[in-house]
Amino acid sequence: MTDPVLAVRGLCKRFGALAASRDISFDLRQGEIHALIGPNGAGKSTLIAQLAGGLKPDAGQVILNGDDVTALDTAARARRGLARTFQVSDLAGEDTVLQNAVLGALGATGRRPRLFGNALGPGALRGRAHAALERTGLGDVAAQRVADLSHGQRRLLEIAVALTLSPRVFVMDEPMAGLDGAGALRLRAMLAGLKAEAPILLVEHDMDAVFALADRISVLVEGRIIATGTVDEVRVDVDVRRAYLGDAP
């Protein structure tokens, strides 16, 4: 088996008396979608923040492509190939769709942005940004301001920006949230195709999507992973049924 692209080892995080992450360990392997599910308040967002670098764990390690990145900040982890999308779209709202995508392309160069030249002029940046927008079906709205986009389009733009980074791993926080049926289906198809490029850690509440997409599922309850396995394994896991699905036949 190949080394995991992203590995978490013994991650712990406390906020006062509340243990938000308790000794969490799991892997994300090449080519897979690994879904992270759990009821509200289970500690999913806290875990994502620790993976992306926004929150320092009290103990444990985050390993990206074999390197311990626990001490690195968000920007440094992004430069090492971790692309994150947000539960609530966090884009430059006054800017156009293209400008947001070019920002991603700019980050992907790994260099300090130049003080001269035209950011939106023809060239590698624009090409890379356009390619990502075309893939997500946003090519036609490239000139629109983000503030004027629909909710669904913003969700797609989050993913387009992540795509411009050509990441080694995707960490997606509820990408389906707020999408209508057709939009969710389109996104589902896109993610299924995307995992061949880089594995996806998918935090999602849409259980249909999770069961359709995930190669493996980890179930987080009260800051602890109580089960990890394939869809079928998790579906029949007694602990999961009791703790998460709420019935114990």
Partner: protein
């Protein structure tokens, strides 16, 4: 042509035509007034890079304005007294050459902006405003208590500094030099705004998290912007000192910082020509209302309130509508 382009073109034409008209009608005082507006506009163009593009509300830009001013004052005073600046380990004379003074003003204000920015940018919001204000006041009190260069009374320079091949004592020539520097500042600001750096800085202003998520450091972007911003304001300070042939601690005061912020807000934050329109309006009001009442700041205050409450885009915003971004 877009309305803002028209407005900017008209403003540029006005800046060229007005002093020529003043010269033709023999009113040199008006040329000096226009020079003042142009130099203050340059200070505002500098601040607008930090404030408009970077979202950094600095109440300490008087520090750079003053450093530029004192760079001129110190160098020129040594030159006029035939008193070397330092004698050991090597003797360095003062100078009355504008280009040399400008370069030194640029370097000194860049260094100060680097130091002040590196510390201040660790904070944000109201703390950033307060810490930049505190730095500005530090320079102010330092200048007051520095007797070698006039202390509280300031420092008078008896001759205007020279520029090779030009008669800088001629008001129109000095105006031309100042206008050229403003044009240079505008080109820098325009280029920065369209560059990859400007795109990243502007995105970091809207969401620092967004910038970090794509691997860019908001701190580095903001520090670079702050240094460029302070440097341009420092150049304006050197010109301002030359205009008045006088420097005093007032250049460092928080009122000066506030006035530079006012130019930007009056004209339009983040609009290329915003500080130019703001400074022209400010100097016009100062001149017209100053003739009506000593307490003209009351009217200015009311106008500023009106702008903040009803015309967020400032003068340019209310005339030309919201900013249009290129695709």
């Amino acid at each position: 042509m877009r309305r803002e382009t028209l407005f900017n073109t008209a403003l540029c034409l006005g800046l060229v035509a007005f002093p020529l008209w003043a010269q033709a009608t023999d009113q040199p005082f008006l040329i000096t007034l226009a020079t003042r507006a142009v130099i203050l506009a340059l200070a505002g163009v500098g601040l607008n890079i930090a404030l408009g593009l970077g979202g950094l509300v600095s109440l300490g830009h008087a520090a750079f304005f003053g450093i530029g001013g004192y760079a001129m004052g110190i160098l020129a005073s040594h030159a006029q007294n035939y008193d070397p600046l330092i004698e050991w380990p090597l003797s360095i004379e003062g100078t009355t050459s504008m280009p040399v003074i400008w370069l030194i003003a640029l370097a000194a204000s860049a260094l100060a902006a680097l130091a002040i920015g590196a510390l201040s940018l660790r904070t944000s919001g109201v703390y950033f405003i307060m810490i930049t204000l505190a730095f500005g006041q530090m320079f102010y009190y330092f200048a007051i208590s520095w007797p070698a260069y006039g202390g509280e009374d300031g420092l008078s320079i008896y001759v205007r500094n020279g520029f090779p091949g030009l008669n800088t004592l001629d008001p129109l020539t000095f105006y031309g030099l100042s206008l050229a520097m403003l044009a240079l500042g505008l080109v820098v600001a325009w280029q920065l705004a369209r560059s990859p750096f400007g795109l990243a800085l502007n995105a970091a202003r809207q969401s620092a998290m967004r910038a970090r998520t794509v691997g860019l450091s908001p701190y580095g972007l903001r520090l670079t912007a702050f240094v460029i911003s302070g440097t341009l304001t420092g150049l304006a300070g050197a010109l301002f000192a030359d205009l008045n042939r006088f420097v005093s601690p007032t250049m460092f005061s928080w009122q000066t910082s506030g006035e530079i912020v006012v130019f930007v807000i009056l004209g339009g934050v983040a609009r290329l020509f915003g500080p130019v329109a703001g400074a022209v309006l400010f100097v016009t009001l100062e001149h017209v209302l100053g003739g009506v009442s000593d307490y003209w700041h009351i009217y200015l205050g009311a106008l500023l309130l009106g702008v903040v409450l009803f015309a967020r885009g400032g003068l340019i915003g209310s005339i030309c509508g919201p900013a249009v971004r290129h695709d």
